[in-house]
């Protein structure tokens, strides 16, 4: 029973992740022909991260592995589309982006200067900043790694 519940939650998660991947692909003006693939890749990325988190990995490691998966698939697709893989992959990892961590950290910093130093605010600022930075790093390096390590010599496209 728990398995079915988990699968239903996973499907909901993937559908919900596909919408922002599509939306941000349009904000980045990805050509219309590539849009469905951005949405699909976004769903795969976020869904795989959900499975990894369920298996007990930390959010940074899970994000890193999912980003590598997205990067590998993106390279395969970029072959037939004859375009740089970033066209698919960046929009696809946007659902995993640590936006709320980044805002919470920055807002704590603004509040620190408004209301003076207090330890809880400072802890919030530092912890959220570290979390956001590590996740951004994991996403970006995860996306770049497959290209660097599978296709070192020849150009990808």
């Amino acid at each position: 029973m728990a398995i079915i519940e988990f699968i239903l939650a996973l499907i909901q998660d993937m559908v919900l992740a596909a919408i922002p991947a599509l939306g941000f692909a349009m904000v980045f003006n990805v050509p219309a022909r590539a849009l469905p693939y951005c949405a699909l890749l976004g769903a795969i990325g976020h869904g795989s991260r959900m499975i990894l988190l369920k298996l007990g990995l930390s959010i940074e490691t899970g994000t890193f592995l999912s980003a590598i998966l997205v990067g590998v698939i993106g390279i395969q697709w970029s072959r037939w589309y004859l375009a740089h893989p970033k066209i698919f992959t960046v929009a696809a990892v946007i659902p995993m982006f640590p936006g709320i961590y980044a805002y919470t950290s920055m807002i704590s910093i603004v509040k620190l200067s408004q209301s003076g130093y207090s330890e809880p605010l400072f802890i919030e600022a530092v912890m959220n900043f570290l979390k956001a930075s590590y996740i951004v790093g994991a996403l970006s390096i995860g996306l770049s790694l497959p290209a660097l390590w599978l296709y070192r010599k020849r150009p990808r496209v």
Binding site: D13, L16, A17, I19, P20, L22, G23, F24, A25, M26, V27, F28, N29, V30, P31, A34, H46, L82, A83, H84, K86, I87, V90, V93, I94, P95, F97, G99, I100, A102, Y103, T104, M106, I107, I109, V110, K111, Q114, V136, G137, L139, S140, I141, L143, S144, L148, P155, V157
Partner: protein, 258 residues
């Protein structure tokens, strides 16, 4: 001799045009360097040397020990993957000898950035932020609040971007509006029991995701200069967003999110 020099000049111009197109529309530095070099070699140069900084490009095209150097200023045109794809297709066609330098010039002058219609962007960005809210356990009512707030904010953002307002000011105003709409709907309006995560989600349309990912990718691939510039720019945009959020929260006496 005369024609050869003018040919060399033309190809140098094409290469830097290619590089500047890519940099203006948000490609990472490694790609800018790779494509400009490939275009130059496809059109008969011996090598292309390129130096990229945050707001200019210097490029030298070398042939038979003759070297021509040129510089272009870079002004940001916003992220546009359609342009990056088109430029890449032109370079690939030139590599396969399907285009000579005149065709490349003609194609470059006909390139026009793709823009999706405004109403569609407003709708899809509203839905995106609503999905973020639901993904962060904000509930369906929170998703509705987020949809309204971020759709209004996106409309304002597109209007301001069209007027070419300074990016940080655009971000601050947009964040102020998104926070005001979602905060007032939750704090003073009909959705009193809604999770405050909706306020945070409604400003997620302003997260500079692409610049941050490009920044780390640049630094990782050795372009520390441009990487740091992108990271700083993205941080400034986030700071501007947060000033907009904090102003709205304190003006309306709201608590923010937990």
């Amino acid at each position: 001799m005369q024609t050869e020099t003018s040919h060399h000049h033309e190809i140098t111009r094409l290469c830097i045009q290619c590089a500047i197109f890519l940099l203006q529309h948000g490609a990472e530095s490694a790609l800018v360097e790779e494509l400009a070099t490939r275009l130059g070699k496809a059109l008969g140069m011996d090598s292309i040397e390129i130096s990229i900084s945050a707001n200019s490009i210097v490029l030298s095209a070398i042939k038979n020990n003759h070297c021509i150097t040129t510089t272009r200023k870079n002004n940001d045109h916003g992220i546009n993957m359609h342009m990056v794809t088109e430029v890449q297709h032109i370079v690939i066609m030139a590599e396969h000898k399907l285009l000579d330098h005149k065709d490349v010039l003609k194609r470059f002058s006909h390139l026009k950035p793709l823009r999706y219609p405004r109403w569609l962007m407003v709708l899809i960005v509203g839905l995106s932020c609503a999905s973020f809210c639901k993904l962060n356990a904000g509930g369906w009512d929170g998703a509705l609040v987020t949809f309204i707030a971020s759709a209004v904010a996106m409309y304002v953002r597109l209007l301001l971007t069209q007027r070419r307002l300074h990016p940080q000011i655009t971000f601050a105003i947009t964040a102020f509006i998104a926070t005001s709409v979602s905060g007032l709907l939750i704090g003073k309006g009909i959705f009193t029991n809604t999770s405050t995560i909706a306020i945070a989600s409604s400003v997620l349309l302003l997260v500079p995701g692409f610049p941050l990912i490009n920044a780390v990718a640049d630094m990782f691939k050795g372009h520390v200069n441009t990487g740091l510039a992108r990271w700083t720019m993205a941080s400034l945009l986030t700071l501007a967003t947060c000033i907009g959020i904090v102003t709205a929260l304190s003006l309306w006496g709201l608590n923010g999110w937990q």
